[in-house]
Symmetry: C2
Subunit: 459 residues, 2 copies
Amino acid sequence: MSDSQLEFLKQLREALPMAAKIEDRREALLENSRDFGQLVGEPVLPLAVVYPQTVADVQNIMRLSYEHGMPVISRGAGTGVSGAAHVTGLCIVMNLMQLNRIIEIRPEDEVAVVEPGVINYDLNEAAAEFGLMYAPDPASYKMSTVGGNIATNAGGLRCAKYGVTRESVLGLDIVLADGRLIRVGKNTFKGVAGYDLTSLFTGSEGTLGVVVRAVLRLRYQPVDERDVSIVFPSLEAAVMGVQSIARARVQPAILELLDLPTIRILDEQYQTDYASRGGAMLLVRLDGYGAEKEETVIREAFSDGPMTLSSSGAPEATQLIEMRRTSRGDTKDDAYRMGEDVAVPKSLMAKYVQELRKIATAHDVDVRVIAHAGDGNLHPTLSVEPESGENPLIRLSEALEESIRVAIDMGGTITGEHGVGLIKREWLTWEQSQDVIQIQHDIKSLLDEKNILNPGKAI
Amino acid sequence: MSDSQLEFLKQLREALPMAAKIEDRREALLENSRDFGQLVGEPVLPLAVVYPQTVADVQNIMRLSYEHGMPVISRGAGTGVSGAAHVTGLCIVMNLMQLNRIIEIRPEDEVAVVEPGVINYDLNEAAAEFGLMYAPDPASYKMSTVGGNIATNAGGLRCAKYGVTRESVLGLDIVLADGRLIRVGKNTFKGVAGYDLTSLFTGSEGTLGVVVRAVLRLRYQPVDERDVSIVFPSLEAAVMGVQSIARARVQPAILELLDLPTIRILDEQYQTDYASRGGAMLLVRLDGYGAEKEETVIREAFSDGPMTLSSSGAPEATQLIEMRRTSRGDTKDDAYRMGEDVAVPKSLMAKYVQELRKIATAHDVDVRVIAHAGDGNLHPTLSVEPESGENPLIRLSEALEESIRVAIDMGGTITGEHGVGLIKREWLTWEQSQDVIQIQHDIKSLLDEKNILNPGKAI
Ligand SMILES: Cc1cc2nc3c(=O)[nH]c(=O)nc-3n(C[C@H](O)[C@H](O)[C@H](O)COP(=O)(O)OP(=O)(O)OC[C@H]3O[C@@H](n4cnc5c(N)ncnc54)[C@H](O)[C@@H]3O)c2cc1C
Ligand SMILES: Cc1cc2nc3c(=O)[nH]c(=O)nc-3n(C[C@H](O)[C@H](O)[C@H](O)COP(=O)(O)OP(=O)(O)OC[C@H]3O[C@@H](n4cnc5c(N)ncnc54)[C@H](O)[C@@H]3O)c2cc1C
């Protein structure tokens, strides 16, 4: 450690009260050195991990880091899957998990005010006492933080109906690169005073400021929920099924698509046997006062043909949704397996999957797909056997790149909900023009002229 | 006209094809010199009004204006109510009403691609052929343009359920101050690649770029719609009614609140007699598969007590919603009447109206209120009789300012949906800190360093 680094740490300790823990044990450094995204090479350790307990702590940390030009990676639960929280060079990690109070829930305003380290699940538990919910529900909701959800503009299962994180964020308190605290947005559902800085910070992956407090819109817990699982003979048929549901003008709360390889994995994990029944599955949740009618409409829509529907009221479909929710990502991506996150216009989902399979075959890699089908957001997982054939890693990366290019060619995006992070930065230049990327860099420089906020990520 | 102005106009004519009309008749200049917002003093005429027919026209206009440092006010239908389209000095007005093609509707993607001059109503008509709708519906929807709606992030009646304009804007083509064309956002429902520039341009009131094309999310037309009007003895009771509906976990598509003076105006305009029945009214629209159940729930919630409900299926409530939709703003604000647009946390609506009445009494001005009650967005209209008492205009402006300060003190905003424009710029400094305002000016400078895009507005 250099003298200036030692000096920085010394000043950091002095600037913070006892309660704000500073960690430099190797174990803690390692744990905070990366997220769930693929890591190329060895992990890089941060200089230290700081756990601010108050907003003032965050301000002090940023003030000092600004003075010293020390990069800071804000970190929630580290469940990100695009390497946005990866350490890549000299920096400290500011772990916000202990800044985790639910400041207030105002049930009559349908609003919650929280610190960033609150776990998504905990907020939902607290809101449930008032018959309310915080709608954005990434599959990581039992682990990930609201601050991380905001910084990635996380999606989730029920965002087809209720919108992504951005749609639930009314206002934010942000600590800027130099330690100043600002408040953007509003306390109310609507508000158009000035530019929409709230949306600018939402999804900016810790590169523009640190979220230290959020005013969130809550929604009514649905009075009724009905789950239906539908097994189709093929993936194409399941995608047609998505269109049928749309044509029936039903807006499900959840509409998940699973392909055969994914079903097989669930079968293995949960000792079930859905794979024998067909080639793809839709998991549908209908909610609210219309749920009963919508269930009827959907059952009618799929009454003839080779589909198998779960019986009404049986726990099966609900279990499957839970399985789907908790199935993915238990293991991190590694060199031989990459999870993707493209989104394409809804009508092109079947075509996209066909292309994907062609690509997989051409490069001799495996592919499985789950999709937030209501949004056209697909999560293909491409993988190779480490020992198989020639240059497995090259085959994998070629297949991956082609799969991204095809999505872009179809008018899609490289990332529907996971963010650009570190891993998708190059692909961003495939999707966006140089002018658009330049504007983002200019905004970044404006707010972080020393480039200390999670440098090298997101844009 | 100075030589340089003449030279600019000459070059403008040369740069544009015949089809792109340039107007300098006084009548056209006058018509394009202001919006529906209050005008202080005499109208200022622009140098010329240009009607681009193509995106290339817009680029040429901006390129030339950039070279000459000529300010440009983008203009849709001019129905704005905050003076955002007012001419305040030397400039040209770029009227986008003729750039009005619906480029495509992709029903299976639930997406429309439009030019900015398309009238909101026309887009809805076109979408209806596919059983779809464009949800944002400002009461001006028969006149206002989609481009203007985007530039103001317009709200509307059904945004409590379906969100404001921003929630329906997926991607934008923007012509920048120097004439460059960029594409931001996405074609898909979800997408988090890079910073959210789409939201930055949405609501920026023509100060950051010109919207020349928009990819919009459409929603399903509801399979069922049920309207209920409820007359309450008092405004306080009606606001309690809003809470009762929320507690019943019903999310109406429309939930409008009318106070007694507003009801009297409707009565006058439509020869009805609702004023005799009570002191305030809620207009409720329930839609979708749950509408029938929701209607039952609402009727039960208000079954005892002094409320009068329209009978089920009767045309009355629907007519009232139409009346409400078309009642306001037929006449522009003037010196003696100011329409406001605050939003407060939902639970404080009743308290806010009480304060408002106190303020009105104290300053001897009249007040009436309508509200998008589902959002906590209130439109008080304050007015004085020109001949009444001492200094009517001072009384009005003092009452107005107090009404704004009280909204801010309650955690509200100066503008729920109309925008800051010219008229609310000073108030913005009451709501937002100097740091936050500075960031917005910095972003403005970044994108428009010559300050030619609708200068002096929005921030
Ligand atoms: C099993 C599993 C399932 C998942 N399912 C989904 C899903 O359905 N939808 C989805 O969108 N994502 C999903 N993800 C990805 C991930 O959970 C989300 O991106 C989540 O929002 C990250 O939250 P986090 O608290 O873990 O943030 P982290 O991973 O710690 O950080 C993510 C980014 O946010 C920044 N950040 C964190 N906190 C702050 C803050 N307070 N201020 C500023 N910047 C901050 C970090 O610097 C980093 O750039 C899943 C991940 C896993 C492992
Ligand atoms: C009767 C009436 C009812 C109304 N009801 C509502 C309501 O319910 N909800 C609501 O939110 N508003 C309402 N308004 C206000 C107004 O209709 C909205 O603000 C509307 O969005 C303005 O659209 P426009 O086409 O008239 O835009 P204009 O008034 O022409 O312009 C508004 C702003 O947008 C900019 N602009 C316009 N087009 C573009 C473009 N293509 N690119 C860049 N900038 C552009 C202008 O420079 C200006 O700053 C109402 C107004 C009236 C008169």
